[in-house]
Symmetry: C2
Subunit: 171 residues, 2 copies
């Protein structure tokens, strides 16, 4: 059996996309060791036209993929809420994510919002605040800093992806 210490790291980029705020988290798994390497929130100015923000989103995500040698992108599956225009904008961002994943040969892993809440907070109907609270409990190194919900959502997705990977690699 391969020594887990010598196993190549799997680097995950979790994204909670938005045309104003986009949370992201980078997590890695090397053998049995897992951890969050970086996290943040991209901010796109509301005054800028949508195409300009989409290009900024594309370039920022591409930079993260290249700099961190991303193997896997984790995102939530979209659902049509009350606002069809928001759903369409989410489509714009997801189209760019798919494009980048294909160009850089990165695998995409999708999680339903319900399953993320279930795994992080214990039940599928958890609020964003409850998810954020649990993310801080699960990742004590985050410290007392207040993060945007977009960022804690991305961290939650990253944790789900890490756990799924660990289960798969343990099988």
């Amino acid at each position: 059996m391969e020594d887990p210490k010598k196993a190549k790291a799997i680097v995950i980029l979790a994204i909670d996309p938005g045309t104003r705020f986009c949370g992201y988290a980078i997590a890695a798994q090397t053998g049995n060791h897992t951890g969050v390497c970086a996290h943040g929130c991209l901010i796109f100015k509301a005054q800028k036209p949508l195409p300009e923000r989409l290009l900024e989103f594309h370039d920022a995500i591409e930079t993260l993929i290249k700099e961190w040698h991303i193997d896997k992108i984790a995102i939530e599956t979209p659902f049509l809420g009350k606002n069809a225009q928001n759903f369409l904008k989410l489509g714009y961002l997801r189209g760019i994510i798919y494009l980048l994943a294909q160009r850089h040969r990165v695998f995409i892993e999708e999680f339903t919002p319900r399953s993320v809440k279930q795994q992080i907070a214990g039940f599928g109907g958890a609020s964003k605040e409850q998810v954020a609270c649990m993310v801080h409990t699960l990742l004590p190194r985050l410290g007392p800093q207040v993060l945007r919900e977009d960022e804690t959502d991305a961290l939650a997705i990253a944790l789900c992806c890490l756990w799924k990977n660990r289960i798969q690699s343990a099988l």
Copy 2:
């Protein structure tokens, strides 16, 4: 007044986007002269995963923009039909169009499907067949060749964009 003969050509790329078939038409206006330069239909194999088709779509549209020195992209405004997944896929493609437009400094002009039908076929509730029939009447040089509806739709959008430009430049 500037001599229209010396006026720079405005080159339009009209797109009817789809993840299986994508119609396009290239039209140009130089002074009072207008015409369709090229048209076609991009075909993406159904067996290929969506990210692969999106990258092919991106590369094909980027090639058209560069080769024809496109100034303006004309597309229809999207509307949420019965199938939310199709609406989302349209979002993927539109996100890529916006991205390319921003990267290559191309202006985007949008037309509602109703206004395209109104202008081409005379009424907003016209069928795709009626639009196709009128496109052949308006562009007799197309000859008797049978075109896919995606292609005639793109030609119809290109004509609407040309007419709008002519009206604007005549003012």
